[in-house]
């Protein structure tokens, strides 16, 4: 898994790439929690995620909860097909706020 964090119009965009699985999810968790901490709006760009498992989803859930505690806003954007499917199977597609594109996420 690779990642980068971009600041754009007041939002922090975490871009995750590749497989977010048991091996890489600790790293994903760390970067997500770090970004959420203190930032008002966090968007997670999932367009390049090729695979995500329950540990990766758990990192997203944890970041969402942390963001809520901080009074921030947390959303997923441009979820790739594999990501979308796992969220759907886990019945979490209604728990997260999802935007089709990064631009939409910034404007919202």
């Amino acid at each position: 898994m690779k990642h980068e964090v971009i600041k754009k119009q007041g939002a922090s965009i975490v871009v995750l790439k590749g497989d977010v699985d048991l091996e890489s999810s600790p790293a994903a968790r760390e970067i997500l929690l770090k970004t959420v901490d203190g930032a008002g709006r966090v968007l997670v760009d999932l367009s390049s995620v090729t695979y995500i498992d329950s540990s990766g989803v758990a990192s997203l859930v944890e970041a969402l909860q942390a963001s809520k505690r901080n009074g921030g806003r947390f959303a997923l954007v441009a979820a790739s097909e594999p990501t979308r499917r796992v969220l759907e199977l886990a019945r979490l597609d209604k728990v997260f706020t999802l935007y089709a594109t990064v631009e939409e996420g910034i404007k919202a």
């Binding site: 699985d21 048991l22 091996e23 695979y51 329950s54 758990a58 859930v61 097909e81 499917r85 886990a90």
Partner: protein, 588 residues
Amino acid sequence: MKGLPPGGERRNLNRLDRRESPALAGHLELLAKMSGHLAVTLNIEETIQKALELITKYVNAEAGSLFLLEDNGLRLTCKASVGPVDIRGITLKSSEGIVGQCVMENSSRMVRDVSTDPNFTHSVDETTGFRTRSILCSPMSTQNIRLGAIELINKKEGNGLFSETDLMMLQTLTAAAALAVRNARMTEVLVQQERVNREIELAIEMQRSLLPAARPAPFPVCGINLPAYEVSGDFYDFFELGDGRIYFSLGDVSGKGMDAALLMSKTASLFRCVGKTLHDPGALLVTINRELCETAIHGMFVTMVCGMLDPATGRVRLANAGHEPPLIHRNDGSFSPVPASAPPLGIIPLEAGLNGIREELIDLDGGTLYIFTDGVTEGRVRPGQRLDVDGFKAIITQYNGDSAATRIQAVVSRLRDSGQQRHDDITILAVEDLTRRMMKDDASRCAVPLVSLTFPARAEELHPVREVVRETCEKCGCPPALTQDLVIAIGEACQNVVRHAYKGVADGEATLEILCRDGMLEFCLTDSAPPVDQEKVKPVWPKEVHPGGLGVCLIHNIMDRVEYLPAPSGQGNLLRMVKFFKRHKDET
């Protein structure tokens, strides 16, 4: 014979006949002509009109009429008429007048001069204004069945009176006409019969269309219906709900005729229609009962079994209203009946709940549920010997190694091929815990796995394992979306081994085996860690999300069957996951 053209001999004979007996030759010619005319039409009215015209003309009578018996032989009605006055439609009592006497006595009569005959009825002349002088009358009958008579009135030539020769001629011609009438009548009956047959064929077709189409294997429900006569008072049906559960039903309407068939159609439609939204078998039977009671046909009722199978668990909810107890054939070979908990439907209103139709909860556990009508158990296998429940059990046990469809077909074949007359419809429905059964079959056949992969139970090893799963699923013909799901499920299963089973112990190993056959993929994941706590591997639904519970929840959502078993080696755990699928290329 030499050099004689075909037919030449006959022409010679004709010439001879004419010379020696012109009257006989004329008769024969007329008979041939009349037979020819009568053969071309099978319409009875046309037949008799034509026959009468020919006869009247040939005997050279002024008028002719043809009477047929009607009203069970009580009346004679004029059906054809030739001459100055059309008397068609006139009716006489069957013993009235010369025609009546002629028919009653089945003998010909001639009244050379009516003015001297006491039997002559003047009523017709009075109505028509026609003056009758001389009458010939000959009865029409075949094989002692009286049909009517032909009456000729007044010879056109000479003194207007008939002769003995005229009577003989009429007798001959009437016999031919009688045959023609009988043929036309038989044809009419045949045409009528043909129409009824067509109606029945349509009813059969309609009924067939109400039965569900057999699903390609593997599918856990199958049925068979063999009507005793043309249409059936039995039915069965099954359909899948959106969540994978399968609703099924079997019913037997009292009686066996068209009335039973129509009530069967109604009940089957109610099951399918109401069952789409009402997912409780007991409550569904209560609702169908209410409908049947409201529009009850006196004295008719329906015995019916209705159930819901969850293929993922092999569990069935079953409700039985007055039907012969279905049998559960268990894994250990034993049979147990499920008795009715309510009276048949269509008799008295029933309430849902405690006083209504109770549901039985059955765990098939690899077994099969058989629902059948009494036409099966009461069917004869030898003169005086019924199949009975014991005979049914024996056939099922004998064919236990075969598919459910083969097993129920074997029962039907035994009854059908016994040479005994069947008096009742035969219907059987089999509902099986296919997943568990197939697993058992596989174990007993020592199926060779497609893939057997042993890997270190470490997080960094999971990616290559997932790639193997992806390739294998694609090779087996899984559609892409299903392949993606299966990769997710197996990824989660492996992850759980890494995270929980070994609890971070570095040198643990896991083995993944993949088996594929007949539209079923089976994944067996074995580890050698301490036994898994069953409570911890129950699916946990989000809200209190933690990765372990979420993973199990994903596995359960994707797989048709998930089982945690002890590893065959005796140490460790075996996680068995089964998925049924339609091959990608089969779908297109």
